[in-house]
Symmetry: C2
Subunit: 210 residues, 2 copies
């Protein structure tokens, strides 16, 4: 039996979803509140829902802040954001704060029901638009490496040493070459990357620009 809670300040929407879900088989929706604060009170005193549908824009505490609190107190509750916001910041903040799904508000009632079932089966319900944003986030991590400034594998070894915070001497020992060779490689690396300090190489490397 899926027990679902709702936090949503629009009474009309809230009641509609609650009534719909409550009449579905294998599902009940005993609680629907205006605010995170009210939901927290409910959770203190009653059996926990398995799933919460939560808006972001709420009177009082925001849905994202609220989720952080709820997830820290009741980590077993899965939370689906149900909101009009489709800007990347709100999406990623929600996901980082522990959301298990993210639906846009135009989602139909049957789709909401499916999403909850999907979630309980180990899925992660997302509106297609949201999924695309999430995917794009990864796509954009595309190493925008400068093909013509590519380092050789030996040079990469040196860079790794720098990133590990090693001195020239330590790098030389690690790679079993002379310190002068390390110097030589580093000169070449600086030239290729158009930098002139360890600091810049390390920064570039950790930003994924190498």
């Amino acid at each position: 039996m899926a027990i679902v809670g709702i936090v949503e300040d629009n009474k009309k929407i809230r009641d509609l979803i609650q009534r719909y879900l409550d009449m579905q088989e294998g599902m009940q929706c005993p609680v629907a509140t205006d605010t995170v604060e009210e939901m927290l009170e409910f959770l203190e005193e009653h059996q926990h829902p398995n799933v919460l549908l939560m808006d972001i824009q709420l009177p009082g505490m925001s849905g994202i802040k609220g989720m952080e609190i709820i997830k820290s107190k009741y980590p077993d509750i899965d939370i689906i954001m149900l909101t009009v916001y489709h800007d990347s910041h709100k999406i990623f903040d929600s996901l980082k704060a522990g959301a298990s799904g993210y639906l846009l508000k135009h989602t139909s009632l049957p789709e909401i029901k499916e999403s909850i079932e999907n979630l309980l089966k180990g899925g992660a319900p997302m509106s297609p638009q949201i999924a695309r944003k999430v995917i794009t986030h990864f796509n954009d991590q595309a190493p925008k490496k400068n093909e013509d400034s590519m380092l050789t594998s030996r040079e990469q070894d040196i860079v790794n040493g720098l990133v590990d915070g090693l001195s020239y001497k330590m790098i030389a020992d690690r790679l079993d070459i002379s310190i002068d060779t390390v110097r030589a490689h580093i000169r070449n690396i600086y030239k290729k990357l158009h930098v002139n300090s360890k600091a810049e190489v390390i920064a570039k490397s950790l930003r994924g620009e190498i």
Copy 2:
């Protein structure tokens, strides 16, 4: 009209999907190859498909490597990975290499069709299991900063300078303080972070550990 291509080395599966998609309304599937190499030849000489379904494990070039090449030559083609692999590495590598969707091979033919339509409408088809892995990836990005090793805002200014690859002198100029003051701050930063070189501070900072 959706034009779909398939790269899949299992002839049975390949033919099945091709025949199924080809008989759908508004969809045609003129090409299905064994390998990335064959698909690349096809793309040179024919009209490009809008969507490619691609396996990962293939004879010759891997699907991930293949996707990188195809995306760099034909960025307009959307690629859906269709594979048995559900390990995080393969998933994230695929997404970073430019995949627009990721389906597991047990996906039914009608679901594959829906996924293609979903994709063309701006969505990002993913099997629920995959979606969950992707979401979990964000959930895990919980900031793990060491509260007790917090830097003062002035110290953070100095760190920012280091991350930008500046020398002590340049930081002093930027903040309009003496180079000795910069030294003093850096000593304190090293003490707080238990490090003893610019390199380590930069590394920590860019890893989000400050």
